[in-house]
Symmetry: C2
Subunit: 152 residues, 2 copies
């Protein structure tokens, strides 16, 4: 085990991976993308500060909400200090992502309602739907699908 003190100061890549429930290759990947960082031993092996666990936990949550890694990296970069995110940082990040999440939920909810309406009205399938031009001669009005723009 790397650095097996009573209170380990540094973690090997394998330890980080297993403690976070992700693959070693994913840890490497996140480091390449600049999301986390490490120092090296004399033998060129990575050693991670334990704060990386918090970062990885944050990454996992953000990913679940649908935030791409690039944005997560950006958010990390914008933190005032370049160490481990503290409580205040986390609050900032998470409430921002919570907003994003709410917006995505709203979008999907609107879509669901629209879909529900369209199941009833049959606008996708029946030619006399108010939104669908009867003989499709609306086409000359220009491109773009006039369908399913109910709620819009």
């Amino acid at each position: 085990m790397a650095g097996s003190g009573v209170l380990q100061r540094y973690l090997s890549v394998g330890e980080v991976a297993s403690r976070c429930g992700i693959a070693v290759s994913a840890v490497h990947f996140y480091e390449r993308k600049g999301l986390i960082s490490s120092i090296r031993t004399d033998g060129n092996q990575r050693r991670f500060h334990r704060g990386v666990l918090r970062k990885l936990a944050i990454i996992k949550v953000a990913q679940k909400t649908g935030i791409p890694l690039s944005e997560i990296a950006e958010a990390f970069d914008k933190l005032p200090h370049n160490t481990v995110p503290n409580a205040k940082d986390w609050e900032k990040l998470s409430s921002q992502w919570c907003d994003d999440l709410n917006e995505r939920i709203d979008q999907l909810t609107r879509l669901r309602d629209q879909l529900g309406q369209c199941i009833g009205c049959g606008c996708l399938s029946i030619s006399d739907c108010p939104l669908r031009n009867p003989a499709d001669e609306l086409a000359k009005d220009g491109p773009g699908a006039p369908l399913l723009e109910h709620g819009k």
Copy 2:
């Protein structure tokens, strides 16, 4: 213009693309993936039955709900007849996808609530969070991230 009768029976790929608001390359792509089909002119150009517009509208909606193309293709394949989806088909497809959508919304909602809780409790950032082992010595209990499993 291809087949310029008073009531066009067949559409060229460009017409289909512009009427659906998608790129020609996307139409080709969907055909390669088996989602739509066409016949050919003597000169080897595609001609699409107008029903393809309905199919493409359905594809667009399904994609918005997060259904991958492979599943859309599967759903199309399972339709009893192999022509254009009719009202009943559409109802079946859309209500199924509506269920999927609802589930995704529920998932995201649970995540949001969890995130909201964690903003307050600070479990990701503060070491005395009930879910976070104080000195991280819980690690020997095996791999896996113990964080953010509140609502689970």
